[in-house]
Every structure is written in C-alpha cells, then in structure tokens.
Subunit: 268 residues, 3 copies
C-alpha cells in the first residue's frame, strides 16, 4: 500500500459519507449507466439540461459533469450557463470531450467550453486530448484510433496552458496538473468492449472531485477505483454484458480498504 | 391471502390478457428500463413526445405516463397536449413528478400539470409529494433527503384537494384517494441502490390502471407486484446490477397466483 | 453448412477485421443497446444528430442507421442531411421505420425518408412494412399486432418499387431485393420479450452492409448472426434481462465458424 493509495481510499470513504449530488449534462447514450455509477459509488445523480433550471440545480451539486457526446446547440447553451454558475461557486466542473477531433463541431465546442469556463478536470482518450491540445491523434466517431506519441508531455503541456488537471485514459491512465503527474495502472481490457466506460470514469472523477479539492489526487483515486472494480469484475465475466453487471456490483461494494490495497498509482 | 391481494392478482391477469399500450412521455434516463418493465409485466410500451403525434398516439393507449424527469419546454408542451386528449377520452394519466422541490422549474411544471390536467394517479417519493402539497420535505436532485412527517395525512389531503390517487413510495408505500387509504409493504432495500426504480414503479401503476378503473386498487396492486418481484430477485443478487437483471426476470415470470400469495396490502 | 452460410460467415469476419464506423441517428430508447451491439459485433458506434455535424460525421462512416423511433422535426431534418451526404458518397443507409402505421407522423416521415433518400435496406416488422407498402397490417405503438398476409410478396413488391432490400423480421425473417429472396430461420422467442431487439437487428444489418455491397446477403447474414446469438443465449437465460446479458455476451464471442455452422438461410 502506497501513501497515494491510502489517500485516495480516504476520498472514497468521504464520497460514501457525504453523498454529494453530481449534476450531469451528458449524452443520451450513457445517462442511465452514469446515473447508476454515481449511485453505486455513493453519490447522488441528477441529469438536468433545461436552460431554465441548470443554474439553480448546479448550486445544489458537489460537481458538474459536462459531456457533449450527443451535443446540440441548446444543450451547449445549458452547459455554459451551468458551468458559469459552478465557476462562480467554486463547484468543480469535469469535462469529457466525447468525439473531439471527429468533427469540427465537437472540436470547437469542447475548445469553447475550455475557453469560457474554468474546467477542473478534463478527461478524455488519447485521440480526444490530442485534438484539443493540437498534438495530433485521430478520433473515429468517439474512439481514439490513433493516440498522441507522448501522453505525459501532452497532458502536462495542456494542464499548464489551461490551468487544470488533464487525464488521458487508456490501458495506463496519465494524469497531470501544472506541476505533478501520476499514472494509474488499474483497469481491464473488457472496459474497451463496452460503450460509455470513458463516460463512467468521468462520473467517478466528478464524485471524487466533489469531496477532494486536490483534483489530481481525486482523479487518480477515481480512475483507480473504477479500474479496480473492473479487475474484480473480470474474473466473473463471460463477455461484455456480464462484465458490466459485475462491474456495477463491484463498484457498489468497493471499500476504502480494498482501494487502499488495490490502487496502483505511481508518481511520474 | 387477503381479499385485497386476490383482487390485485386479478388485475395482473388482465394486464397480461389485454396487453394495453402504455404511452410514455418520460425522461431520457429511464426510457429503456421503463419500456422493458412495460413489456415484462405484459403490456406494450411506446415512447413518443413529438407535439405533432402525441394526441394521435395516446388515443391508442390504455394509459399515459407523464414523467418530466429531464424536462424541457417542448416536452412539457407535448405532455399537456397528450394529457388533454387522454382526459377527453377518459384514458388515465399517471404523473411522476421527478425532482419536484429540487428546482423552481420542476416544482412549477408539476403543479401546472396537476392544475391543467385531470391526473388519475400521482406517484412520487416523500420529498416530491411534500413539495407539491406544501407539506415540506427536501429533494436533492431527484432524491428525497427529507420526507414529510405524516405521509398518510399528506397523501389524503392532497388526494382530496386534487381529486386523484396519491402514492408516496418508500420502504412502506402509502396510497390514498379522497376516502380510502392502503399501505403496501412489499419491496427491498436494493431498490434504492438503482436509478429509475421510482419511474419503473410508475410504469407498473400505468399498466394496472389501464385495465382497472379503481385507481387506488390498481396502484396498490402495481406497487405490490413490483415490490414482490424485488423480494424474489434479492435472493439471487450480488449487487445493484445483478439485482436489476433478476428484478426484470422475476417481473416477467410473476403470476397472479404469486401476487395473491405475496402481496402485503393493508387497509388504513 | 450451406454456401450462403459460408458467405455470410466471411462477412462477419470482415466486420471484425475492418471495424467500420456505424453512424446512428436513432431513437432515445435503444441508443445504449445499439451502441453496445455495434461494438460487440466488431464495429465502432457513433450517435450524432446535430444538423451542424451529421454531414461531416457520416463521411467517416461505413453505414448510416436512420431510426425515427422517437422522432421530432429537428431529428428528421438531420436524418435527411446525413442521408443525402451518405447517398452522395455511396455509404449505405439502413432505415428502421419504428412505429410506421401507428401515427400519421410516423408513416409520413418514413415515406418521406424513402422518397427523398436512396435507402439500401429497409428493416421492419410486418405491420410497419405493411403500412409503408399499403399492404395492410396494424401497428400498436411500435408493435406489429397484425402482419401482412403474404410477407414474401409484400417484401418483393416494395423492394422492386423502391429499388432496395426489404427485410420483414419475425419468427421467420423474409428478405428480398428486386430479384432474389431468402428466409432466415435463426432467432428465439425471448427476442420478443425485450425492447429494442428490432433496432439491434437493424444495427447488425448496418455493420454487415458496411463491408458487403450485396445488401441482400449482408442483411441475411446480419439477421442470422443476431438470431444465432439469441439461440446460444437462450440456453443460459432465466428471463428477458438475463437473456439480454447472454445475448450481448454471445454476440461478442460469435465466430465466423459458428455462423457458418449455425446460419439457417434458405433461398426462396
């Protein structure tokens, strides 16, 4: 057990004790799954995207997830309204730039969210972060089919430029802020066979960031917890769908003690 | 076996025999689940929210579910159009006031639906019903974090004032119309670990109300059936996701005989 | 093993090797399921419906799915934009006319898509295809409650009139183009107990059509593969929800060899 593992285990305990509300403005594909992940990790989900209510809703929340995976103009408007209110109240905003790089609309919308809001954590796959940082990478639909060459350098550079935490997730997750960087080696190949696991990871980050102001540590803990649940689930899975069931069950039962023992987080 | 249990068991038999269409205008999070619950209990689901078609669609239906859990203005417009048509044809309208009390928009929209439509059954958690009745309660996102003090008095009062059936669901479900009241004690704590179980319960109510004009009895039967399926499922579950699979499987197989034997409905 | 079975097995192999992007503009109920089906069969899903991006997104795709199951005007506009671009680039467009026949809006919208776009494959249930061909049939919500009398004649007639492949799915699937026709006898009654299995079948067709220009063969192969996975899953299922888990698991593991041995495709 590393010191980092012990610290992130304590964050999981706080999520379960404090039950923060996680306000999602997210895509239509994963809403049910991310609501369940929020509940299973110990927080409370709400999905709300009406321009008339998002500013009021977010004031109740511990964190705001912005995920423009099935974006249209009115949803982006609501993301900006909610994001500004979250910024005004120091509520962390977590951005999942689904499909950035695949179309002009997706790239520009995510850049606009980064420009107009103070994002706390940006979590994407290698192609998406590449598209937003100008470092290359190819995104086909919502999948990274070609990543950036040096994820650590890209994450660090973007983190410094934008003053936020950047997480590039994949077999090894790389997380950086302007000064520090860590790698998380939890996870399982089954995660890549299911839709929305990136979005679920983002929801985990939001739950952890809602109770821990060191967002690099919160992000590392969230990704370690999600990856560890995947490892535990894999042993009981026969394919992607039974894996999903086991993943959610294990996420629900995951204890701080298990996380302290199983988190594989390395300072870089 | 109580007489009430026998009567609600017969309703389940009629749902399976008559296969009523249940028209949902519901939230984006639970659509897949509530469509499946509709099918598994023996009815036919349709999700349709275009203003151009809802009046026509609802004329085919045995019941209409209005669930503004991810409301926007255009969806509310469609709810009103469909609801008026349902009222004109004496098709029961079931309202699930998701998140009433959490934001002004949610509270006012649900009050407007109650004002402008004749709702047959209003089913919510204790905080939501508290917000709509003025009896207190606190809702955080879509969760009741503080309920009303006297659910029976609140349900009875609101039922009389609005001339409808009110169901406040929780570990003990309280159901009242202007004159009668019953409690349903079926259910399982796993239900609270899954998103959308309230919405699923509302769908069950709609299926039962589509074939039984005594809406208090229909509501009691629907909640008993849903709770009984949860009890049967719990024995085979390792966590919330395997519980969900088992819940849906048991709902599909639930027989009127099982419901007659297992429904725990008490006149109050 | 028939020659047809061997040929469709080879298509499955190409889906897994080429991983085509399948662009869906589809309904809100099934998005998560069809995204997962796309991944499990070996292709890449994207769900994108903003008018500003669909023309760009579809140029990356191997096939486009149009499924107006929860249609509104803006979504139909995006379907037309994406469809025209797909036509211009010879990317096959697969249409799933969910609920055609149930309301005027649904019937007219699907006829408009058929009129204004060159559809490669139209896949629906018997009532839906009946409504679009003028051959009768009754649709209640999204369910065919009365089919056409002679599915083969109806499919052949509509295929000739519209110059496309028509698939009428049910216990026996009938597939026709202007000259040929085949039947597929794979499948299992559990499929009718789950919402969205028609939409999942359409997604399978899109994945196969993305890599095989003989769309009749592609459609037969896709429906045989989906039905075979259902047969394999049924043995391990206790109800509709455990069946769904097993169906997705088996779809993921299905090999061309299994499909060659298990596909039951008959030339008519």
């Amino acid at each position: 057990m590393s010191e980092l593992a012990n610290r992130v285990a304590a964050i999981l305990g706080r999520v379960r004790a404090e039950k923060p509300l996680i306000h999602h403005i997210t895509n239509l594909v994963v809403m049910n799954d991310t609501a369940n992940v929020t509940l299973h990790v110990g927080a409370l989900p709400v999905m709300a995207h009406a321009a008339e209510e998002v500013a009021e809703m977010v004031t109740l929340a511990g964190a705001l997830v912005l995920n423009p995976g099935t974006l249209t103009a009115d949803w982006v408007t609501s993301m900006l309204i909610a994001g500004r209110q979250a910024n005004a109240r120091s509520i962390p905003v977590i951005l999942d730039p689904v499909g950035a790089g695949a179309t002009t609309l997706r790239t520009q919308t995510n850049l606009r969210l980064l420009d107009e809001l103070q994002i706390a954590v940006l979590r994407g796959n290698s192609g998406e972060i590449g598209a937003l940082s100008g470092a290359g990478g190819v995104v086909k639909g919502v999948e990274s089919v070609e990543g950036v060459r040096d994820p650590l350098a890209v994450a660090r550079g973007l983190a410094r430029e934008r003053n936020l935490v950047v997480a590039i997730t994949g077999p090894r997750d790389i997380i950086a802020d302007g000064e520090r960087a860590v790698a998380v080696d939890n996870g399982h190949p089954w995660l890549a066979t299911l839709t929305g696991t990136g979005c679920m990871a983002t929801t985990m980050v939001a739950a952890f960031a809602a109770v821990e102001r060191d967002y690099l540590l919160a992000t590392a803990g969230a990704l370690a917890a999600f990856g560890l649940a995947a490892e535990l689930a894999a042993a009981q899975s026969h394919g992607p769908a039974s894996f999903k069931v086991a993943l959610f069950d294990h996420l629900y039962h995951l204890t701080p003690e298990q996380l302290a023992a199983g988190a594989r987080i390395t300072a870089l």
